[in-house]
């Protein structure tokens, strides 16, 4: 080997080593505030470890789990203080509008290749600017069934009521059907099914249209006329009863699928779990759940190496096919990129979830949506305690929303 060849080899080695040094990042300690559940956060932690091992050895991810309202308040409080914000925020899209209004999220169009997300990126865009990238598509409610108790999936609410009655007759200890009765997120699909919308075509908030009144009446009658739902039931009630096999059918979201497929957390559902689109209403329409997904956003305080690492990890988690498969399909949720598809043959549950997703309505990230949730909640509670009529509830919700909007 002459000197020129040796020099060339040395140069090549230097370039190769340099390239490696560029690809691998310095170790960073990231903090993520996650609205996701425990089971999904375990997968998120494993995914970060896989990413860090390959791209930023020695890096750590601290996952701080926060319930929706807590996450919202804590981020606003940290924003007011000007410190203590995390490096990443993981949550549904409806809080994004509030954070963007407060100027606390970074625009992400320059940080990510937004063309990679063909399905639901719009749910995290405000004024055409992207403030979140989807980890999955969905976050939608659907019918979930214990097939040991109800072998035939009901296609209409009449069938559901009959199936629930049959289950209760055969198993007096089992509730036929349950859902989070007083929570507006569970109520909105009924509103959409009866033709109601939150915003009129002119963009005004309208909460007292006939669709809203019909929906209030319908959920009232599920409790007080057909008696198909329990007298009281919140999320924890429906969820825990379903896991232990004490309720045959519930309405819940895609975030819970992983837990229901886990034999340790849901022993009663082993080989007996199915999901389906909502049963049709008496008018022939299916209730239409809000759909969006979970999104990763980056607060404005993140910069330098932290920002680079946060963007690199978020990009990998949301676009690398293997990572997307692990974190969406692996947690019972639908992928948000076209490179990963659900196979109905091998995964009938996700295929059915996909079918339910198709019946949904996109949830806007508009911050004024909060006025709808907050105005509907107490009036829905009043209807469900039989202390207010459907008409009164709709009218009062409209007044309340107008007061909220100012």
């Amino acid at each position: 080997m002459n000197r020129a060849k040796l020099l060339a080899l040395v140069l090549l080695l230097v370039v190769a080593l340099g390239a490696t040094a560029v690809a691998a990042q310095d170790p960073v300690n990231l903090v993520i505030w996650s609205q996701d559940g425990d089971v999904n956060n375990v997968v998120l932690a494993a995914q970060f470890e896989a990413w860090a091992a390959e791209f930023a050895p020695g890096s750590t991810l601290e996952i701080v789990q926060k319930e929706t309202e807590v996450l919202r308040n804590d981020l606003l409080t940290a924003g007011l203080a000007g410190s203590g914000l995390p490096d990443l925020v993981l949550g549904p899209n409806d809080a994004i509008g509030v954070f963007v209004d407060a100027g606390l999220l970074l625009p992400l169009d320059d940080q990510f290749d937004t063309a990679m997300y063909p399905f639901n990126l719009g749910a995290a865009q405000i004024g055409g600017v992207t403030y979140g990238v989807p980890t999955n598509a969905g976050n939608h409610l659907m019918l979930m069934v214990n097939t040991n108790l109800v072998p035939e999936i009901p296609q209409t609410f009449d069938e559901l009521i009959a199936a629930a009655a049959a289950v209760e007759e055969a198993n007096p200890e089992v509730q036929g059907f349950a859902y989070n009765l007083n929570e507006p997120f569970w109520f909105l699909p009924f509103v959409h099914g009866f033709g109601g919308t939150t915003y009129s075509e002119e963009g005004e908030m309208v909460l007292d249209s006939q669709g809203w009144i019909d929906a209030y009446q319908f959920v009232h009658d599920l409790k007080f006329v057909s008696g198909v739902v329990p007298e009281e039931c919140d999320y924890a009630c429906a969820d825990s009863l379903f896991k232990e096999g004490s309720v045959a059918m519930i309405i819940n979201g895609d975030w819970a699928i992983a837990e229901y497929l886990n034999p340790e957390t849901s022993p009663a559902l082993v080989d007996a779990f199915a999901v389906a689109p909502w049963p049709a209403l008496p008018n022939g329409n299916r209730p239409q759940p809000f759909t969006a997904g979970k999104f990763l956003s980056i607060p404005v305080t993140v910069e330098g190496a932290q920002l680079e690492a946060a963007v690199a990890f978020a990009t990998w988690l949301t676009t690398d096919p293997a990572a997307v498969e692990a974190y969406s399909i692996g947690t019972g949720r639908l992928p948000a990129i076209s490179a990963v598809a659900v196979d109905p043959e091998t995964d009938p549950i996700l295929a059915a979830s996909n079918e339910a997703l198709a019946t949904g309505v996109g949830m806007p990230a508009d911050p004024t949506l909060r006025c709808m949730w907050d105005s509907v909640r107490p009036n829905l509670e009043a209807v469900m305690s039989d202390s207010m009529t459907a008409e009164e509830a709709a009218a009062e919700a409209q007044i309340s929303a107008e007061d909220c909007l100012g």
């Binding site: 425990d38 956060n41 375990v42 932690a45 494993a46 470890e49 991810l61 996952i63 789990q65 309202e69 308040n73 606003l76 924003g79 007011l80 000007g82 410190s83 914000l85 509030v98 209004d101 407060a102 100027g103 606390l104 970074l106 007083n182 329990p230 007298e231 009281e232 009630c237 404005v300 305080t301 911050p367 909060r370 006025c371 949730w373 907050d374 105005s375 909640r377 107490p378 009036n379 509670e381 009043a382 469900m384 305690s385 202390s387 207010m388 009062e396 007044i399 309340s400 007061d403 909220c404």
Partner: protein, 370 residues
């Protein structure tokens, strides 16, 4: 990384982070104390160097943890901090600020009037809504708060007094009974609230199981406004009785038996002994206890928050839970200027009550006169 709850590893990690911090604070406090003492004794040469030095940590803690938040709260009441103006007050926000000033009397007037009135084009058009329902107005919430406070204090006092009288008798296993009665006080309020929430469940709760077992009709405790209000009062009474029992029992045991013996010789009845000896001699305990109880109950957020969340239909909210919900709850609109004004009004109400009550009752006279 696992999410398996509190493990030994997590506890050790936490201690590893906390112990150096605690040691650093300790060393820092000792150094500051020594420095302050030397300054006062050697440089300023005051004869009160030691008392000032010993008082200093408590004074600093009071300033940092009470005076500063209070002052900041007052400042917030003079701000226009809400969703649309957040960018003006946040040092990191990317949003544009359109306010020409951040704090001012005009904002304070607006915030304080919003607590009471709804304004349209500068005209008062009715009571303002503190939450989302038509009933969430200041007079309604104040009335409910007074009802909540009076009911709780009456039950706390009467049951606590009855138990104290029983515990003051010569009965067997007194220690066991006393320990059982004190249990509610020893359990963290979060556990109490969440447990009672489950116990009031219409189908699976112990309360309805008991009622139906006795032949009664199940009650929708958390779904009916009146039943829900009774439920939260019940939980708070259950929580508050041990405080009175302990205070009153301690007071009763400090009354010399000579008085009762003399009364017995004079032929006094049980009621006369109670009314003429026990009650007057317990007054120095009863007045401060009632004062504290009124303030605590008036400000009792945790029970309502955990048992009913203020529902159904915001019907179990009192002033402080409405304040919490307005500032941080599901119906929060980030109107922190308004929330600060609201909290100051609650503070003023309690301050006036405490001032009038303590002055007229003379309950703290003995303490102040010592």
């Amino acid at each position: 990384m696992e999410f398996s709850g509190l493990s030994i590893e997590i506890i050790l990690n936490t201690l590893q982070q906390l112990i150096p911090l605690i040691l650093a604070i300790l060393v820092g406090v000792i150094l500051l104390e020594v420095g302050l003492y030397l300054l006062l004794a050697r440089v300023i040469k005051t004869k009160h160097a030691l008392p000032y030095t010993l008082l200093a940590p408590a004074m600093i803690a009071l300033i940092v943890f009470m005076m500063y938040p209070l002052a900041f709260n007052v400042l917030l009441a003079f701000s226009n901090l809400e969703r649309g103006t957040f960018a003006c007050y946040s040092p990191v926000s990317l949003g544009a600020c359109e306010l020409d000033h951040l704090y001012g009397l005009d904002y304070a007037i607006q915030n304080f009037s919003d607590v009471f009135f709804r304004l349209r084009d500068g005209e008062i058009v009715g009571w303002g809504r503190l939450l989302r329902t038509a009933d969430s107005t200041f007079p309604v919430l104040l009335g409910r708060t007074v009802l909540w406070t009076v009911t709780n204090v009456i039950f706390h006092f009467s049951i606590g007094m009855a138990l104290a009288i029983i515990m003051n008798q010569k009965i067997r296993f007194k220690g066991i009974y006393r320990a059982l009665i004190v249990i509610p006080w020893a359990i963290p309020a979060v556990i109490v609230g969440l447990t009672w929430r489950q116990e009031f469940h219409v189908q699976y709760g112990f309360v309805n199981t008991l009622i139906t077992g006795l032949g009664g009709q199940a009650i929708s405790w958390l779904d009916e406004p009146v039943a829900a209000f009774i439920a939260v009062i019940f939980v708070n009474v259950w929580l508050g009785v041990p405080f009175y029992m302990i205070m009153l029992l301690g007071g009763m045991q400090s009354i010399p038996t000579d008085y009762y013996e003399a009364a017995n010789i004079d032929g006094a009845s049980s009621w006369q002994r109670f009314n003429s000896i026990t009650m007057p001699l317990l007054k120095p305990i009863i007045i401060p206890a009632v004062t504290l109880d009124v303030i605590w109950t008036f400000n009792k957020l945790d029970v309502i928050f955990l048992v009913t969340g203020g529902g159904p239909s915001e019907s179990t909210n009192i002033l402080v839970s409405a304040l919490y919900n307005a500032a941080f709850g599901p119906a929060a609109t980030t109107e922190l200027g308004f929330a600060a004004a609201f909290s100051i009004i609650i503070f003023i109400i309690l301050f006036i009550f405490a001032l009038v009550w303590i002055t007229t009752s003379g309950g703290l006279k003995e303490i102040y006169d010592r």
